[in-house]
Amino acid sequence: MVFSFIFIPLLIAACLPLIGKVSKKIIPDVLTNTTLAFLLLNSILLVKPVFSRGSLLQNINWFGELVNLQIALDGFSLLMLFTISLVSLCITLFSIDYLKHYGHQANFYALLLVMVAGMNGLVLVPDLFSVYLFLEVAAVASYALVAFGLGPEELEASFKYLMLSVVASAFILLSITVIFGLTGSLSFQAVARGLQDLNASLVLGVCLAFFIMGFGLKAALVPFHAWLPDAHPSAPAPISAMLSGLLIKVSGIYALFRIVYSVVGMTPALSKVLMAMGAISIVVAALLALGQNDVKRMLAYSSISQVGYIILGLAIGTPLGIAGGLFHLFNHAVAKGLLFLNSGSIQHITGTRNLNELGGLGKKVPVTAGTNLIGALSIAGVPPLAGFWSKLIIIIALIQADHFGYALVAILASILTLWYYLLIQRKAFFGPLNDRWLKIKEAPFWMTAANVILALLCLLVGIFFSPVFKTWIAPAADALARGVQQVLMWGI
């Protein structure tokens, strides 16, 4: 049942504050993890029906009356659903031990589930206005979660995030409304059909620019990225992982490329603009990451840089480029989730995130150090880890499409990426042990377990990259590469 992706988290989230009055910790922990495990299972079970038919369009009946609860599912959305469920399950596993710092588990989990519901909704709805709405659902929950620690930095970050994000969503809605005015409808299918025989490219161009700015801000493309390096590091580690791993991808990249490919249709002009922005993001953010001392802030800039890679890949417009971009999206979700959770472990273990204060932790906390290394190398694109393959595919696709300059940028920036990740390794895990950390112990069980699961995923996806690529990425890339036809085919 596809609707469960939206309803169940919302329902549990509504109940959790009440349950929280009864049981402060155990029941919320168990309930949230069970819910997300169920969703993960559900998304895996959907593989067969979706891929056998290409897409799934479902309507729901309410007390015999036809109501318009319509959802559409194709390869692209299913990949996102799977990623969301997978990474958020690991994140909640991590939270079991980590939330002792914050308390109020019930409230935290409720917000987290609302965010998951919002992202799931965004991925499933075939309707522009609903996309905006679910975007807001996830966003409102994320504002509160960023500020969850209630410290001055958290509040500052959350406020800036909110104020920038609100402007972005205003422009998104404005653009949606104008498209509504142009075509008279909001559902993807009708809009796609309407736009096909509409001659208003100028107005549409402005709308697309608004979309690029709005979703680009959500995805933290340079120059719309400024909120991210504040918001992601300030949030509690699981939320950083959630935001960097999932939210920017779902509410930024998924929404943008769903609209660009499946509703409006990719044009060379759009491709040029998006690729340029992707390349700028890669370089600027990589340079910025080099200058950081805070682990999480470095990771946040790295997210911007990697989002640049994803967008660069997706915007090429060739099937290979799309596949590379989507594969990198998945790999980055896993690896960046891992790294942020890992930074949470480091903070839990030592109480600091400043690279200059750390050092030599590798001897004391080998599991944390090892998983961090795997995640870092995966993102930096070191074979045979997952990130290597996706970057390789993107670069090959760039060369295939004759974008040699961008390919060069991608290669050079991946050296920069490796550089700053090795900086983390060197400053935090290798080198002489700082006397302050003589008595530290490995992080608690669930935190370590979540790290290990994600690290294994990085490794296994890298080693068995071809089956993963075939089952999850290729259908998703097909769905996007078919362009507008894919949406017009929904439900047929």
Binding site: E156, F159, K160, M163, L164, V167, A168, F171, S201, L202, G205, V206, L208, A209, F210, I212, M213, G216, L217, P223, F224, A226, W227, P229, D230, P268, A269, L270, K272, V273, M277, V284, L287, L288, L290, G291
Partner: protein, 622 residues
């Protein structure tokens, strides 16, 4: 028998290497027993494959003519058997000699890996496969030298790796040329006349082969390794395995891949290299004051006989070269193992400190003496037989100079072994080493086996010559010509044998002259020759490693790199350091400054970005 049996000599030792590596360092007995047992199994495999003679295995691998192609025939079967025999002896010897080595797990693993790769190289029937195994041997050589655990071991290991790598690179280029001119990578399909491009291919491949065998000028790592590597390694690699492999390949190059004609330019190249190696290395050997180093120079010098033999391109010469290869492997391994035995008991191999050990270590002394006489070519030992064949071949080429060079080599070989044997085992008992006794049986046994083999192969030379050597050369004799190598091999009353015996007598005379001159100290017996006017300067230069192309190459490279560093690297570095990194750093700092935390600033970027995107899109749409 299944064709896949051919894979056994490769897979089995490789698996054993892993198992031996995994056995914890403390369980010594299990490892030793297992190692000896598996070398026995290898010996059995060698025998059974030798009896089979013809077998081949071929499966497609990478395409483009690169196939998984193995072939066993009389020559490779013979080498395979020899390899497994030496492996057995060395493993047996190692059980005592290497007992307390701190990295014993690695030692056995490398030894068995080296055996696996060597077997692979011998069996390979595809050039790419050959190169793969050839390079892999190089790596195990490197690893084994580092196990010497001396401060300079690593440096020597790197030296061997670089020299070997250069030779292998040359071989790869040669293979490339062969591939380009014949279009095939299958070894038994290649048969070229060595002219023009093929001559270049021949030279390049030959360098690969003689480099592995340790001929001049690719020898310089061997004397260094004599001091820096474990002595078992010396017996294992430079004395036996690498000689066998290198000469095997040289023989295949000269006989199979290329058609080497008597007196052709390529044959001359081989003859010159062979003669030069004999003479120069033997002169270096003569003056050495360390037993292991002395032996290692002989290991180089003797390669010269093999190359000379093959270079004659006359069946009897070729047979002599190949026979000398197997003989040399036996007595040189025996000599190294004896030196190891002496080192094992006394802790030193310096000639000056030793003396009169024959009484305390009779078996070692016996083994050493037999092997030393064999290497010197004393009747009726195996060295005599093979050397006579080489002299024969050399004379038949019509260039007596090469035969003379070989004889000169024989003189000084005997002289230096007289000196070595005299100073270690005979003469007055030295006071510098405490009283000692004979080594354990598993050290002595391999030495005795080898000594007995030396005698057997000499006296009953019919056995090895007819079983091993004749089939190899048979195809290269002129039609109608019957080769009977064994007949008259031990005949003392021929002019050639007479000259040889004369040489030995001269050597004896030289030794006694030197011994007397040096105040009856045997280790000074070579001093008169050392102090000869021109030779003296040459020796000094050589001691300063003036003739070591590696050292000179290193010096040149150091100079070159200093120049490059100053005039090319620094400017580039300046561009990189000062320009690229500074620009990067500049932008990093600039961008960081731009992120000043002010909301208005961030929003301004957003709006500015929006305006730019709108403008660009509208521009692109028009």
């Amino acid at each position: 028998m299944m064709a896949t049996t051919l894979l056994w000599p490769i897979i089995f030792p490789a698996v054993m290497a892993i198992i031996l590596f995994l056995i914890p360092a403390r369980i010594k007995l299990v490892r030793e027993v297992l190692a000896v047992l598996s070398s026995v199994v290898m010996l059995y495999l060698g025998f059974s494959l030798f009896l089979l003679k013809n077998l081949s295995l071929k499966t497609n691998w990478l395409g483009m003519g690169i196939n998984f192609d193995f072939r066993l025939y009389q020559f490779s079967a013979f080498i395979l058997l020899a390899l497994s025999g030496f492996l057995f002896l060395i493993v047996l010897y190692s059980t005592i000699k290497m007992k307390d080595h701190p990295r014993i797990r690695e030692y056995y693993a490398y030894v068995f890996l080296a055996a696996a790769f060597s077997n692979g190289a011998v069996l390979a029937n595809n050039f790419v496969l050959l190169v793969f195994f050839w390079e892999a041997i190089l790596i195990t050589t490197y690893a084994l030298i580092t196990l010497g655990l001396k401060p300079t071991s690593h440096r020597t290991a790197v030296k061997s790796l670089i020299i070997g790598g250069l030779c292998d690179f040359s071989m790869i280029m040669g293979i490339g040329l062969i591939w380009a001119s014949t279009g095939t990578l299958t070894m038994d399909q290649v048969h070229l006349e060595p002219y023009g491009l093929a001559a270049a291919a021949f030279i390049l491949m030959m360098i690969g082969a003689i480099g592995k065998a340790g001929a001049m000028p690719f020898h310089t790592w061997i004397p260094d390794a004599a001091l820096d590597a474990p002595v078992t390694f010396m017996a294992f690699m430079p004395a036996s395995f690498e000689k066998l492999l290198g000469i095997y390949l040289l023989a295949r190059i000269s006989l199979d891949f290329f058609e080497l004609k008597v007196g052709s330019p390529m044959a001359m190249v081989l003859l010159i290299i062979g003669a030069a190696t004999i003479v120069l290395a033997v002169f270096m050997a003569l003056i050495q004051k360390d037993l292991k180093k002395l032996l290692s120079f002989h290991a180089i010098s003797q390669v010269g006989y093999m190359i000379l033999g093959i270079g004659t391109a006359i069946p009897i010469g070729i047979a002599g070269g190949i026979f000398h290869m197997i003989n040399h492997a036996m007595y040189k391994t025996g000599l190294f193992l004896s030196a190891g035995s002496v080192e094992h008991r006394t802790g030193t191999t310096e000639l000056k400190k030793l003396g009169g050990l024959a009484r305390e270590m009779p078996w070692t002394a016996f083994g050493f003496s037999v092997c030393a006489l064999a290497i010197s070519g004393v009747w009726p030992l195996n060295g005599f037989v093979s050397k006579e064949m080489v002299f024969h071949g050399a004379l038949e080429t019509g260039y007596p100079i090469f035969a003379i060079a070989a004889w000169v080599g024989a003189i000084f070989t005997f002289a230096s072994f007289l000196k070595a044997g005299h100073s270690v085992f005979f003469g007055p008992r030295s006071t510098e080493v405490p009283k000692t006794r004979e080594s354990q049986w598993s050290i002595v046994l391999p030495i005795l086996i080898l000594a007995i083999l030396c005698i057997t192969f000499g006296v009953y030379n019919k056995l090895p010559l007819e079983n091993f050597i004749q089939p190899v050369v048979a195809g290269h004799a002129e039609p109608g010509q019957h080769i009977d190598l064994a007949a008259g091999a031990l005949n003392l009353f021929t002019p050639i044998a007479g000259v040889s015996m004369l040489c030995l007598l001269i050597a004896l005379g030289l030794h006694f002259y030197g011994w007397k001159q040096g105040g009856k100290k045997a280790y000074l017996a070579s001093e008169p020759i050392h102090r000869l006017p021109v030779l003296h300067q040459l020796y000094d230069l050589s001691e300063a490693r003036f003739f070591d192309i590696y050292e000179q190459g290193v010096k040149f490279l150091a100079w070159l790199s200093r120049m490059l560093f100053k005039f090319i690297d620094r400017p580039i570095d300046f561009i990189y350091e000062k320009v690229v990194v500074s620009i990067g750093r500049f932008f990093t700092v600039l961008f960081q400054k731009a992120h000043n935390g002010q909301y208005g600033n961030y929003l301004a970027w957003t709006i500015g970005g929006l305006i730019v995107v709108v403008w660009v899109i509208l521009k692109l749409l028009q």
